[in-house]
Subunit: 350 residues, 4 copies
């Protein structure tokens, strides 16, 4: 949390889910006056315990805000438009609507344009940090008109991890910039979610890089497997090379200190593997929640290659079985030209 005294910023906050409630708590601690609403009365009560003012309805919430009013939505992407449509008529020139969820930046552009006609400023905040944000603080990528950014900066600063969360970059001196505290005004409306989208696209690539590496390590003992020889599967050419039983959890741990590939995602992997290095409680069906797709779409629209990020995305699709028909087509072709039958000798039972 950034340092500094109390602020007089007031904020309406709609959506007290996993992330929203923690964000309100963090802002209240920093002296920001939050008026909150959620359909769930329990969540409202919890927020009230942190000092927030709970409102019974969106209308009531808006009614308790002083101009210029700032309303922060922290909602699933699918309902943002619906709630925004409720809020918008209650706002007036100079007010601000903030979307802190995971909207597509294209939707931001649309909303921003529509709201601008009413004099309302639209602000998109890409928030990273997941369930750890209440402890670590939230990294925020912000798209906003300058005036809105200036008004809301105390909230961003309150939510951010603060400069002490990492050593300063060589050459950065004096008062820490917002970027060093963990929030950044990236540009006009849409820019925040654009940067957050790419952030998540990168995340997919990083995760897949570790995952593929771990998979290779796990198969380092494949030379010890008894494998039936058949004409349909390439034999292991050098079984003598692959007789290592590697301690995956310890490897994840050792990479955390002094290596080139240390990262927060590696920290999490090491923690998961400490509990169970076989990960047998997972089935390996990897979901994707939008931003990875949008990143690939943006790259394609731009004409910019993104083979690694897209391979990571497609790996997730395939993990859910969506490559099945393609594979059947290839099996059918092999059968047609060579009489090849499908075999089961190379299956990974792990």
């Amino acid at each position: 949390m950034s340092e500094g005294g109390k602020t007089s910023l007031q904020l309406g906050f709609i959506g007290l889910g996993r992330m929203g409630l923690n964000m309100v708590r963090r802002m209240q601690k920093a002296g920001i006056d939050c008026v909150v609403f959620d359909l769930d009365a329990d969540a409202r009560a919890k927020a009230a315990e942190s000092g927030a003012t709970a409102a019974d309805s969106i209308e009531a919430l808006i009614g308790q805000l002083s101009a210029p009013r700032a309303v922060w939505l922290m909602l699933p992407a699918a309902v943002v438009d619906k709630v925004a449509d409720q809020v918008t008529p209650l706002l007036a020139e100079g007010d601000m609507l903030i979307d802190g969820g995971n909207s597509h930046f294209v939707d931001d552009l649309r909303r921003s344009e529509a709201l601008a006609k009413r004099g309302v400023m639209y602000v998109d905040v890409g928030v990273s940090g997941g369930v750890w944000g209440s402890e670590r603080g939230y990294c925020q990528m912000i798209g906003a008109p300058d005036a809105a950014y200036a008004h809301l900066e105390p909230a961003f600063a309150a939510l951010a991890p603060g400069v002490d969360a990492a050593p300063r970059t060589d050459g950065r001196e004096g008062a820490p910039s917002p970027s060093e505290q963990g929030y950044l005004h990236c540009g006009p409306s849409g820019a925040g979610h654009f940067v957050k989208m790419v952030h998540n696209g990168i995340e997919y690539g990083l995760m897949a890089a570790y995952a593929e590496g771990m998979n290779i390590l796990r198969h380092a003992n494949i030379g010890d497997s008894q494998r039936a020889v058949d004409a349909e599967t390439a034999p292991l050419e050098h079984p003598e090379r692959y007789r290592f039983d590697l301690p995956l959890g310890e490897i994840a741990e050792v990479w955390r200190r002094g290596s080139v590939i240390g990262s927060w995602l590696l920290d999490l992997t090491a923690a998961e593997m400490r509990r169970d290095a076989t990960l047998e409680n997972y089935e390996g069906r990897v979901s994707d929640s939008g931003e990875g797709r949008w990143t690939a779409l943006a790259a394609i629209e731009q004409g910019v290659p993104a083979p690694v990020l897209t391979a990571a995305l497609f790996g997730r699709f395939a993990s859910r079985g969506n490559d099945l028909f393609a594979n059947k087509v290839m099996s059918a072709m092999r059968h047609a030209f060579g009489g090849h039958k499908e075999v089961d000798t190379d299956a990974d039972k792990g």
Copy 2:
């Protein structure tokens, strides 16, 4: 089959499996005198019906050949070395040993060097055509010393499809070149299997291209699916775009005439899909038999990018479940940073 009269070429031929027997028949028809051996007496008898001379043993086979002796091996890659070791001591300076199987070109280089010390010429022939070769003829990519190639050319010509198998390329006139008949002296020993290896690498890429396209066509009705909404899976953003039930078998057929993507692999796909466009008899476990791997290895050793060919290879590995642990690692990470659970809503049951 190339035109021309009978030839006086004599050939020892070891290995009368699916391809070997048909090749002997084709050569006998062209007047090539084949002395054959196979462990299977039935296969020997069948070859004898085509006019070949069946020998009871490798020694007997060699004994019936006149110098310079030429022995063609048509064997699984895994046993070539073993049989070559039996044949080699029986050969003398000026003789030829031909490997018509799917050896790695690196093994050719090794064998060629060893045989050269004894004055024996090593010839590697990459043969494409699969089970269709007896009807279509065999495309042959040949690595050989010049003298061996010259001696054996009648056999290559007999096995080849002949120039009439395809329209002549614009600008090619006069007597058809060997390449136009379907065989080619690619270079010294090893060159034949090198070219065949890349041929198969390309084949993997072509097959995957059709397969991925067919998979996209098959999912063109995904907007009609009832899919449970959950926070873990990106929703289908435009269900209204994906309401087509496309006739896959008819599409494969229509592409066969006049389109840019017509090919023999497409012909086979159309034939398979005519029988059953759902391909429900296939499980989608796609084997790979070596050459695709070797092509990728060669590209990597050369420092030459092969993203398409390698993606096709990796798709086969994943079709057999070998991406499982990598996917578990990603699920574990997602759980760790976001509390995400694995869900089952986007599974392809098809």
Copy 3:
């Protein structure tokens, strides 16, 4: 061209460019009465020489058609909407508007819906065949309401290559289906361009597969290169494996007969390489014209993996230098963690 007698079909045809003029000629030969317009008077005159009726304006063209009127647009994708907006007000219930260009199927869905309100049927025809279509005939993938398809079928049949363009698929007997003649009613409006889009996506994959394979063949002599040793570049581990000077043009030719990878694209490659196997007149900047991007977007929206098709697309982007900044970022990282400098020893000067 499909057999059969003269037809009484009448067609308005707008756009007499490279493909349009040839299509009109082919239809006129089949007895279809074309009323044509193009901004270019020369093109109109040429069409008139084939028996078509040239109109001086779009209005004049429409005026000469009998109900139900059918107007075929053969225009660059970028101007289809503009011309369609001119044509539409002149059409009435039961009339048909056909887009034979390369529209995105999403635009078809929009247009179809808009026209349906006026009772006008929208037909999208994906046409493959390139500059060769006038000779080979055109493969057509059609999205249309049933009534429009039935009305227009004589035109499709006239444009198609006809069943003799390829051997019949095993098991197909009796009167050839439309798909066997080279045209197919794929589904309602949009389905035609959807299938054509995927067709082109596959085309990208096929082309890249051949191209990567040829590149590996071309580097088969890399072991002969003198390469400066430096700490920044992985040395060639096995130079002795890569000493082949392969005849690329002859290889393309030999694969045309009897091999598994024979195709029309290979035929073209063999023809190009016969003229100059070094391809030195090309710079290797590979354009993309939309469908490959749309195919990737569709796969991503569907959640279907398309690693090969997308790798092919990204290879084109990179061929135009659009990977430059990403590469600079990697060089900067290498410099930062290892003091690595960029070197020039592994450059492909070819």
Copy 4:
């Protein structure tokens, strides 16, 4: 550096380059008695300043060691075998030879087997840390017989960063394990370099993920570019979406705190971009130094998919122009089927 008192370990150390000299210094500080040799007398002198004993030759170095003798080689991979051949005859049963460089694990297996015949133990240590190691300590992945590992552990502990270099993983308590201090006995000889190889493979994937993301961010203003319209290049479909001028250096900085993608590589990127966010001093020719290739080869030999790691590797090959001929092949095909010409409108001049 791990805590604890002085140790009596003595070590011969050959190779005082960028990393070796710093490693000797770090070990001397921890009380390890190093006898050193390097061809460069200056380097020897510098090591002597740190308290090491400089030897004039390899023979002299060995002569000053007490049994069991341990000789650590810190040399370029290309000369390890040569120096090992000099050292080996001077070693006796119970002695140890350590390779701390970047050998391929396959070479380790070979050397280990050869040395075992003489009773000498071979130890491979994959060392990560780059030029930063003298400050941060070195992450070490060790393959060794148990006895050798036990003897050498004080050296590994001295070189390692120590547990304080990162917060302890949740659930790890009591005395820190070696993995928590930054070194790990991964398994028998070869295991250390195997794990280091995969470590570097992952590194390639991570770097490419950030690089691709940064490239997409950099092109976020592509909608503002004036681009000539031509028939050869897909137009930018939504220029209105891409009008952001994003502050790349600030974005790299903001991601360092609180985000999911924080990492040491990101720290380095932020530092590089602080100096010059355009990276104009780099040309974008990205070298690769072996391990990335070996990782891909291992995955392929295992039959394990590694699409992300391999795409990252191929991106480096392409950055050096090695995709050129493949691109010419595609341009030639496009010319052949469509009369397409290469154009220059989409070039990235940045």
